[in-house]
């Protein structure tokens, strides 16, 4: 575990909080798998299991005024950002009470209140949006950061390169977070990239960049604080490559023919949750009954979310065409802000 805790004041309560958030994401998604098998959640379901340290670590460095642009593997980002578990679960059910009135499902969680701009399901499609959010902040003189999260697959898209260049060229406050889990769906990084050291792409756009152990929540948090501070101070972008791994298949449809069990088992030894647990226990910060209590509270929160989603409502079919365009007299939220 990285011993930089002093710099970001990582006290016991804070560290326990990190553990709790990672565990919430893990248990939430495990419950999603059950609900998927039960036919309650349909469509695509991309699990974040194994990668929790990244969402939890990065969100610690952002304030409520900052924005997040995420991908279709975003349950963890949304939960760590503070989007309600109830609304996320209801969204996966497709109920009106969901974050996006059920119109988006698992891949399209949006939440204006926490400035969570999705839930974008075209690989690299969110990067230009993040550049634009940051451009608006710069033009309006607002000292805000837009965190743009994407995977290693995005680095092969033109939009990745165009966006990095634009953000660096115009000196825009974007924190690019590449969650490199070494697979673009089933294609291993080395089979898709001539340069597998993804942080070096950012350097070629004259952007400060660093690679981080994405299986270590404290390392991620420390790096994120450093990166966000640099963005706030210089106004320009910063690039984090978080090296991580997803323990589960790409989606529920993925038979995982492209990687061996031994490789997955090797990465599971780096599981960020037991890693932090062990460290806290050894440091005497986690007591014997802390974890069971935490599990119990998380389980209650998740079951509450499931009950909320179950009790939610289906949007009437008469409202099918709702929100294709903006109804007259409905100002958008940002304009009112």
């Amino acid at each position: 575990m990285t011993a930089r805790a002093d710099k970001v004041h990582l006290g016991r309560e804070h560290l326990i909080g990190l553990l709790r958030q990672m565990l919430l994401i893990r248990r939430f998604e495990e419950r999603c798998v059950e609900l998927y098998s039960a036919g309650k959640i349909r469509g695509f379901l991309h699990l974040y299991i194994g990668e929790e340290a990244n969402a939890v670590g990065v969100m610690q460095a952002l304030g409520p005024e900052d924005a997040i642009v995420s991908t279709y593997r975003e349950h963890g980002h949304a939960l760590a950002r503070g989007v309600s578990a109830r609304a996320i679960m209801a969204e996966m059910y497709g109920k009106v009470e969901g974050t996006s009135r059920g119109r988006g499902g698992s891949m399209h969680i949006f939440d204006a209140a926490t400035r969570f701009y999705g839930g974008n399901a075209i690989v690299a499609g969110g990067l230009p949006l993040a550049v634009g959010l940051a451009l608006a902040d710069k033009m309006q003189g607002r000292n805000r950061v837009t965190a743009c999260i994407f995977g290693d697959g995005a680095a092969a898209e033109g939009e990745f390169h165009e966006s990095l260049n634009l953000a660096a060229l115009w000196k825009l406050p974007v924190l690019f977070v590449c969650e490199n889990n070494y697979y673009a769906m089933g294609t291993a990084l080395a089979r898709a990239q001539s340069q597998t050291d993804l942080a070096r792409h950012a350097e070629s756009y004259a952007m400060p960049a660093e690679a981080v152990d994405g299986m270590d929540v404290v390392a991620v948090e420390v790096a994120a604080h450093r990166a966000v501070a640099a963005v706030r101070q210089d106004g320009g972008p910063y690039f984090l490559e978080n090296r991580t791994y997803r323990f589960r298949a790409h989606s529920m449809f993925d038979p995982e023919l492209y990687r061996g069990k031994a490789e997955v088992e090797e990465w599971k030894k780096k599981d960020p949750i037991p890693r932090l647990e062990t460290w806290l226990t050894e440091a005497g910060l986690l007591h014997a009954d802390d974890l069971p209590r935490m599990e119990e509270a998380i389980s209650a929160e998740i079951e509450d979310a499931v009950a909320f989603a179950e009790a939610g409502h289906w949007e009437p079919v008469e409202d099918l065409a709702r929100d294709v365009t903006t109804p007259p007299g409905r100002p958008e939220r940002e304009a009112a802000a």
């Binding site: 924005a67 642009v69 969901g98 974050t99 996006s100 009135r101 059920g102 119109r103 988006g104 399209h108 949006f110 939440d111 204006a112 701009y117 999705g118 839930g119 974008n120 075209i122 499609g125 990067l127 230009p128 949006l129 993040a130 550049v131 634009g132 959010l133 940051a134 451009l135 608006a136 902040d137 033009m139 309006q140 033109g158 939009e159 165009e162 966006s163 260049n165 634009l166 060229l169 709702r322 929100d323 294709v324 365009t325 903006t326 409905r330 100002p331 958008e332 939220r333 940002e334 304009a335 802000a337």
Partner: protein, 327 residues
């Protein structure tokens, strides 16, 4: 009245937008120092500065997406894509993001973005610079599509489009920029909802938009010499289509020819034609006719390009075929 050009009308509209709304900025390739590929923004960088008349690198996807993001965060961007041909490099952002974000977010985020682009053929610039893909965009729910074919609309549609809380795509036909005419000194914002009857007539309805409006008007003049009075409708808005104006005219003339510079297959002309069948079939004296571009990539030599595109003579022939079908 002032004598002006379509290009100057666009520029006046841009200047008005930048002056009236501090949230507005123009972004695109060569809009600043170069003055716009078609000189529409000439001089604006000196008036409004490089922040608000913002030259972008040749990254259509990124700067269109940046326009979407900036719109969601309270700005009112006008993104210029040099031509519709290059807009294909930004289709992902327009179709997957701009058009879907409001619906997909359950109504939380609107995208008040205006995208302008040049379109069309007729200048001997060959197959990769001559597309008319308005119908591709008009296919997509969540965006409004406009085609200013007159000086008034070039001058007036932009401001109205900027007031729309959702994405608007404006197609300016490249052959129109040099078009000269009179514009009242009081010219300003116009509606973007309705089609317009540009010439009244009783014998046949010609339905067109953009530069082809003027080919339809020329055809109407040729027909008038033969005592055939064509009514000419300028669609103006390609999505949504103003069915009411179209049907009112067709019910009166009982015949319709749709003129569209797109290829016939899957064209907007096909859509308009289908709507007339659906809504005014029993008022028709003849099947709806179409004058579209021949199904070839646009060739470079003038005689072949002319042969590929809709022309007044082809419109006249299509009308006569309709009248020949008179019982």
């Amino acid at each position: 009245m002032t004598t002006t050009t379509y290009r100057e009308a666009v520029r006046t509209a841009l200047r008005e937008a930048l002056t009236r709304d501090s949230r507005t900025f123009l972004m695109g390739e060569d809009v600043g120092r170069y003055g716009g590929t078609y000189a529409c923004s000439k001089g604006l960088i000196d008036e409004f500065g490089p922040e608000r008349v913002r030259d972008a690198p040749l990254s259509e996807s990124a700067f269109v997406g940046a326009g979407i993001g900036a719109a969601m965060a309270g700005m009112r961007p006008i993104v210029e894509i040099m031509t519709v041909n290059f807009s294909l490099l930004a289709l992902d952002q327009i179709v997957n993001n701009a058009a879907t974000l409001r619906h997909m977010s359950g109504g939380q985020f609107s995208v008040p973005l205006v995208i302008r682009m040049a379109t069309g053929a007729g200048r001997q610039v060959a197959a990769q610079h001559s597309h008319s893909l308005e119908c591709w965009y008009a296919h997509i729910p969540g965006i409004r599509v406009l085609a200013p074919g007159t000086l008034e609309d070039a001058r007036g549609m932009l401001w109205t489009a900027l007031q729309d809380p959702d994405p608007v795509v404006i197609f300016e036909h490249a052959a129109l920029y040099n078009m000269e005419g009179e514009l009242p000194d009081t010219a300003g914002p116009v509606d973007i909802e309705r089609a317009a009857v540009r010439r009244p007539g009783r014998d046949v309805t010609l339905i067109a938009f953009g530069a082809n409006l003027h080919k339809a008007m020329e055809a109407a003049r040729l027909l008038a010499a033969e005592k055939i009075e064509a009514e000419v409708i300028d669609l103006r808005s390609l999505r949504p289509l103003d069915d009411a104006t179209i049907m009112a005219s067709v019910r009166k003339t009982r015949r319709a020819v749709v003129i569209d510079e797109a290829w016939r297959t899957g064209s907007l002309a096909a859509e308009v034609s289908a709507r007339v069948m659906e809504q005014a079939f029993y008022d028709l004296d003849a099947p709806v006719g179409r004058v579209c571009t021949e199904e070839v990539p646009i060739p470079y030599p003038k005689h072949l390009e002319d042969a590929a595109l809709p022309q007044p003579e082809k419109i006249v022939a299509a009308v006569k075929a309709q009248l020949g079908a008179r019982a």
